[in-house]
């Protein structure tokens, strides 16, 4: 198992994908933190009930600035998850992978574990980008960058978890849709466009808000306890959000793995 995991890490770091994605993650984290840092204000902006930003404490501002790019960050780790398995099908390296480790369940676990690690690694890149730029911008504007430091650290650690879990969701999507390009388009399309729209539509219904909080993007905001854009919309506690994300990941990767164990590799 350890050997298979190390093989998975080696697989990931021997193509150009990893640093392209690392640059993307860093830039997204830095850009969003810079933007939110520049716009953040204690007094809020407009009417929260109409989609404006409510007044925030210094601590809330810092948390929101540092995690503002997460919705782009998780799209990137989602893509990484898809590509981890998708490129094996596309380039038919699945054959050598399963020849080296014929117990396919072992391969799948190795992918899951290495992806959690890789997601976490991208989390570190993300945090470096967002904190460096966000804290600088806040400081320049004379606002405290680390109000409530302990809880900020907690948020940053949770970012690692969130990015890792999204990578697993991607892995599941990549296994379920064996065509890499289709899997990538569908996964990103759903996570980026379809799911937020569904969330917005659901929130307009009286019964929908309770359901909407279980959508992956809402669960993600719940984990980070950051501003959710919906005024007083219902939100899960952070651990419930993490469990919901983990459940998505487990479901997708579980079904996908079960299929892969039986699938003919040719």
């Amino acid at each position: 198992m350890v050997a298979t995991i190390s093989s998975e890490f080696r697989k990931f770091f021997t193509t150009r994908l990893w640093w392209g994605m690392a640059i993307g993650t860093f830039v997204a984290a830095a850009a969003f933190a810079g933007l939110f840092g520049a716009l953040a204000s204690r007094t809020g902006l407009g009417d929260p009930a109409q989609g404006g930003i409510p007044p925030m404490s210094d601590h809330q501002i810092a948390v929101n600035v540092y995690s503002s790019g997460v919705s782009v960050g998780y799209l990137l780790t989602l893509a990484i998850g898809v590509l981890t398995i998708g490129s094996e099908y596309r380039h038919k390296t699945m054959t050598s992978t399963f020849l080296a480790t014929p117990r396919r369940v072992t391969v799948m676990w190795a992918k899951v574990i290495s992806l959690l690690g890789i997601g976490g690694l991208y989390g570190v890149v993300f945090i470096i980008g967002s904190v460096a730029v966000g804290a600088t911008v806040l400081s320049v504007r004379g606002m405290p960058a680390f109000a409530g430091a302990g809880s900020i650290v907690r948020t940053l650690v949770l970012i690692l978890l969130v990015l890792g879990l999204w990578a697993l969701i991607g892995l599941g999507a990549g296994i379920l849709i064996p065509n890499q390009v289709a899997a990538l388009l569908i996964a990103i399309g759903v996570a980026w466009i379809v799911e937020p729209i569904a969330g917005a539509l659901l929130s307009t219904q009286s019964w929908g808000a309770g359901v909407a909080q279980f959508l992956p993007s809402r669960a993600t905001t719940a984990v980070l306890q950051s501003y959710n854009g919906g005024g007083e919309a219902e939100q899960l506690s952070w651990w419930a959000g993490a469990l919901v994300l983990a459940a998505y990941a487990a479901l997708m990767a579980g079904i996908g793995s079960a299929l892969t164990v039986r699938r003919d590799i040719s």
Partner: protein, 334 residues
């Protein structure tokens, strides 16, 4: 440098592993790609696995390696299924398609990825790249490799764990004549180390000079199994003279069995041309032609695999005995 340098367990002290294929069948929908196939591969020998394109060679090998699930039947290596081998890469080396590389990863890194999962170090990787003759190219991305380089990289991958059993699917495909000659020498070298080699090909002449045994299949069914010598049959000689019957009698008197083909030509069992010539001289019969009659293996292969019941189902629209209802894109190898 030889392959034997790395911790090769003394092969002689160990029973070689026999490959056993028993009643192996694979259906893709209603299409029977491999049909109740049984054969075995003796340890320590090179066995050619032959058949025209689409005969089911790759499918059989993929079932043997646990990549494709068989519909029926079993395939074992040393009595074990591939998936049950405790150290697969150290036991069986396989090179299947020549295109199994990520184009953005270097050949060397491809091997290092495999090596990692079997706990093999980088030194062994470099040793093999040296051995197959692509040490420099292997540091470039595999996307730009020629077919020949891919084949060599595939061989290196198969040899990573220094296995005793090698399974090679069409390793000569895409090699130039020089490459094929190199491959022949390479396989003989490996065989001399006691390895069991199963090598598939759709061309008998590619492997004819290399293999000890052959297994010939057509349309997923076994057509012939035996040693290459058996396939050649008994040596024969061909003689042309003025009176074939008279010469046949003279040869028979000398202890040679001969058969007149027509008035002038006869076929003699055995390849002692000197003795045939001497006996003809004693009988005062002129010899117009005298030669050892090599069995034309290529013609035999063609005859075996192209007899009416074995005619390639992939070439005609719906062969008689195969309602090839949904044979997908024939000829286009995946």
């Amino acid at each position: 440098m030889t392959i034997a340098e790395t911790d090769r367990p003394v092969a002689a002290s160990r029973e070689g592993r026999r490959i056993e294929i028993t009643g192996l069948t694979k259906r893709f929908g209603s299409f029977v790609a491999v049909d109740d196939l049984s054969f075995s591969v003796a340890p320590g020998r090179i066995t050619g696995f032959l058949g025209p394109n689409g005969a089911g060679k790759t499918t059989t090998l993929r079932m043997l390696l646990g990549l494709v699930q068989s519909t029926k039947g079993t395939a074992t290596i040393g009595g074990e299924r591939y998936a049950d081998l405790p150290r697969p890469l150290q036991t069986v080396g396989a090179a299947l398609e020549a295109t199994n590389f990520h184009p953005g990863r270097t050949g060397r890194d491809h091997l290092r990825v495999l090596a990692a999962s079997a706990g093999i170090g980088d030194a062994r990787v470099d040793e093999l790249l040296e051995l197959v003759g692509i040490p420099a190219v292997a540091r470039k991305r595999a996307g730009g490799y020629s077919m020949g380089m891919r084949q060599r990289l595939g061989l290196a991958a198969a040899l990573l764990g220094n296995p005793d059993v090698l399974i090679l699917d069409e390793p000569a495909n895409g090699l130039d004549p020089e490459g094929i000659r190199w491959l022949r020498g390479f396989l003989r070298h490996l065989s001399a180390e006691g390895k069991t080699i199963l090598v598939s090909s759709h061309m008998l002449q590619e492997v004819e000079q290399t293999v000890d045994d052959v297994v010939i299949i057509a349309n997923g069914r076994l057509v012939r199994q035996g040693s290459i010598a058996e396939l050649h049959g008994d040596p024969k000689a061909m003689v042309r003279t003025t009176d074939a019957d008279a010469l046949a009698r003279a040869l028979a008197a000398g202890g040679l069995s001969a058969r007149a083909l027509d008035g002038q030509r006869l076929e003699v069992v055995g390849d002692d041309l000197t003795r045939i010539g001497d006996l003809a001289l004693e009988a005062r019969l002129p010899i117009h032609e005298l030669r050892a009659d090599e069995t034309d293996l290529e013609a035999l292969f063609f005859a075996l695999t192209d007899s009416p019941e074995n005619r390639n189902r992939n070439l005609e629209g719906g062969a008689a005995d195969h309602p090839a209802a949904e044979t997908p894109e024939e000829g286009v190898m995946r």
